[in-house]
Amino acid sequence: MDYLFKPSRRALLGSGAFAALGIATGGALARDPDPLITELQDWASITGAGVDETPYGLPISFESDVVRRNVEWLTASPISSINFTPIHALDGTITPQGCAFERHHSGAIELRKEDYRLMINGLVDKPLVFSYEDIERFPRENHVYFCECAANTGMEWAGAQLNGVQFTHGMIHNMEYTGVPLRTLLNEAGLGAAGDLKDKWVYVEGADASSNGRSIPMEKALDDVLVAFKANGEALRMEHGYPVRLVVPGWEGNMWVKWIRRIEVIDVAVESREETSKYTDVYEDGTARKWTWVMDAKSVITSPSPQMPISHGNGPLVISGLAWSGHGQIRRVDVSKDGGITWETARLGKQGDTKALTRFYLDTEWDGSPMLLQSRAMDDTGYVQPTKDQLREMRGENAVYHNNCIQTWYVNAEGVAENVEVS
């Protein structure tokens, strides 16, 4: 008991690193009984946190690196910018709101339900203003849909750029949305005044400073678009458009207008800034494709990936990833370990959701030799996710948006993965 009381705090902190090494080298090599089993541990003896400690919980501190991250140099200001969902560390298909990617054009705003107004005007029988309360009185639906930014994987057109699936594919989330079909609200205002609906549009805009207006063809507006107020069961987070946002299933995220305040039935597309100067795809000869709304079938392996190296050595390995299609359901996902020479069909997790993420797994053995991992999605239209070369052949390298190419990870003998391009 009479030791010198002279601790070095830094040294003690550093010893955490040795503990981490212990985890990595323990397991199979251990011969001595595992003290985690043979010795009484604090958590098995003393009591834990009380129910009054965390009225609304965050993930446990050990998971504190599983967060949205931005890449500063991509944009001029974080107020008009994007961050990325940590898809490398998630499993299943539902994205928690707190780590679902954000894209704002003038920042995320705080808008109270009491201050919320939704206007429907233009070619309607009776222009209307709804309060938040009104919206919740219409019959509502629940659907799981993915929301993918048109620019997801956009940096990769010019080649392998960012080392991490969070950054190459993290402009996506998948949530269960609760909302009122847009058609219900349009019917409430009455579409008689619009005449023939075939060539009509709805123009939608947000209450934030950017307003982010987009034109949506009437056919889509009357199909599956939702005016949503809940995600994953709870109120929308501020950054996802609290209190009300638009959900445009299968179509590019920019159209999912947040803090939606106005819906105008109109006879032409407004050709707003977001649908002409942005979210249009420039091809090799300089012409641009516009109204490219649908997000085509796509998939990516989330683990192993650069942020998720193989740490367990040879033997059983779960290769896991996500697949989705704006056209409908995912029918099949194939995985290659040799850069596309040989393909194996992966096992799909929960199936049958349309325009939603599908989880896939390839339960395999790793012999410790390098791999070129790829995944290839096929949707229920029979469309097969193209390679980078196929896409470039059709579009060149300057399209920015709608890059749904097959992604390749080179995994070395140590299990470290890197973003690469292959022949």
Partner: protein, 458 residues
């Protein structure tokens, strides 16, 4: 389990059967929408094999009793029969699947009200005027007003140039608004209002509603007209005496007005890429042609750091159907592993004291049921621990101390970093006779953390 002797075999068999059947139905429906002759047969065979496997697995799970085994055999037999039946009932399955899908859709969709619900209120003319300010190609929606280049230059310098540059050339990473003509087909196209935007209305509409950044909606109509006029001038599209107004707006044709085509992916791409993909020997060999330009570090305090990747493609093997040509063990790979990927798991290097306090707070949970600390803390089963360090042991008025601490109080022993550490190492050894039943903190760093935490309440 023994409470419900019959329930287990039922669950064991029925659940897997429904699971597989559901999958077959689902797959059958998906296939019904395409016309894959051979694949359809292959698929069904696969599914039947799966039903068979399910039966085998179920057999393994059987209890030992002969009776139950007999029951299982019967169920297994029924399974086989069902599996065989499946093959001959493709059409029926598809039919049922359609019905199921139809039903599901009905359940998922909310009813569209046949009549209006009478919710909401009529939007007033003034309200519509306030919010409906969009301007469409040709200028419909424009308000009265005008603005010339000279005025625009002043307004632009005042309200726009800090981001977009004095000549609309763009500052830092902010959008360039001028120039870039004839670059759209280049490797690095410069998409400006002049070179790329197909409609002038878009510029007016956007500036009026969403600019200036941070002061959206504050421009007058004349200011907006003048800014648009100045942007046209900075693109050399008008002379310096140009004035833009509602009447000449529609006449203005943008440089890239014919530069856009409608989405033609369905005709050009979908027709090509809706094919059965290759599964084996799809290429003779595969080489890595490019490695990630940036390694992305992910610091504990958020965001990212991009670092140039020094690695070369020369270090990597070529792949063929036989696997990689060699297994590289390069120091570079190891370095990368240590530096870049490891960065994701970097140990937090934030303020060590703050970290200790946070750890101490967590460890204090062990003490909380008996000791209170912080504002208004009162004695519980143990004395409150405010102002602990430096105070005399056993000195809290009104607390019934053990004989050990009564003695310590008499001897004027003081709580210090050292005495607290000794006490917490083995309480019953340090203070023989203490009423505190706590076993102590074996880890030195835990004791330090507690000390740092308690020191906050002085």
């Amino acid at each position: 389990m023994s409470k419900f002797p019959n329930s287990r075999p039922m669950k064991t068999f029925i659940l897997p059967t429904f699971g597989v059947l559901g999958f077959v139905i689902g797959s059958g429906y998906a296939l019904a929408k395409t016309n894959y002759g051979d694949r359809k047969i292959g698929f069904l065979e696969e599914q039947i094999a799966k039903v068979g496997t399910g039966v085998q697995q179920a057999k393994l799970l059987l209890p030992a009793e002969a009776e139950k085994r007999a029951t299982a055999a019967k169920v297994a037999e029924a399974e086989s029969a069902r599996a065989a039946e499946l093959e001959t009932q493709v059409a029926q399955i598809q039919e049922r699947a359609r019905a199921v899908t139809g039903r599901q859709k009905k359940v998922a969709s909310a009813p569209t009200p046949g009549k209006k619900l009478g919710l909401g209120r009529t939007a007033l003319t003034e309200e519509i005027a306030a919010w409906d300010v969009d301007v469409v190609p040709g200028g419909r929606g424009l308000p009265d007003g005008s603005g010339d280049v000279a005025t625009g230059e002043e307004v632009f310098a005042d309200k726009c140039a800090s981001c977009h540059g004095d000549f609309a050339e763009g500052a830092d990473n902010w959008p360039v608004l001028a120039g870039g003509f004839d670059t759209l087909g280049d490797a690095d196209p410069v998409k400006t209002v002049g070179s790329y935007w197909p409609h002038l209305s878009t510029a007016w509409d956007y500036i009026n509603r969403s600019m200036p950044f941070g002061e959206a909606g504050t421009l007058t109509a004349n200011e907006t007209y003048s800014i648009v006029a100045y942007i046209l001038y900075s693109n050399d599209l008008v002379e310096d005496d140009f004035e833009l107004n509602r009447d000449n707006f529609a006449d203005f044709e943008m440089h890239n007005k014919d530069g856009f085509i409608f989405d033609d992916r369905p005709a050009i791409e979908y027709t090509r890429w809706r094919t059965e993909p290759c599964m084996k020997n799809c290429k003779a060999e595969v080489k890595v042609t490019m490695r990630s330009v940036f390694l992305v570090e992910t610091p504990a305090d958020g965001g990212t750091e991009s670092v140039m990747n020094p690695a070369s493609i020369d270090d990597l093997p070529t792949f063929s159907a036989d696997g990689p040509s060699f297994v590289p063990v390069s120091a570079q790979d190891m370095d990368r592993q240590n530096n870049a990927v490891g960065a994701a798991q970097v140990i937090e290097e934030t303020d060590p004291d703050a970290q200790l306090i946070a750890t101490g707070k967590k460890i204090f949970r062990k003490c909380k049921s008996c000791h209170a600390v912080g504002e208004g803390a009162k004695n519980k089963a143990g004395p409150h621990l405010n102002n602990l360090i430096g105070r005399r042991m056993g000195s809290i008025e009104g607390f019934k101390y053990s004989s050990a601490f009564k003695l310590a109080s008499k001897e004027e022993r003081i709580w210090s970093e050292a005495t607290l550490d000794k006490f917490l190492t083995e309480p019953k050894v340090y203070a023989k006779g203490t009423k505190m039943s706590f076993r102590g903190l074996k880890k030195e760093k835990d004791r330090i953390a507690i000390y740092e935490y308690l020191r906050q309440f002085e």
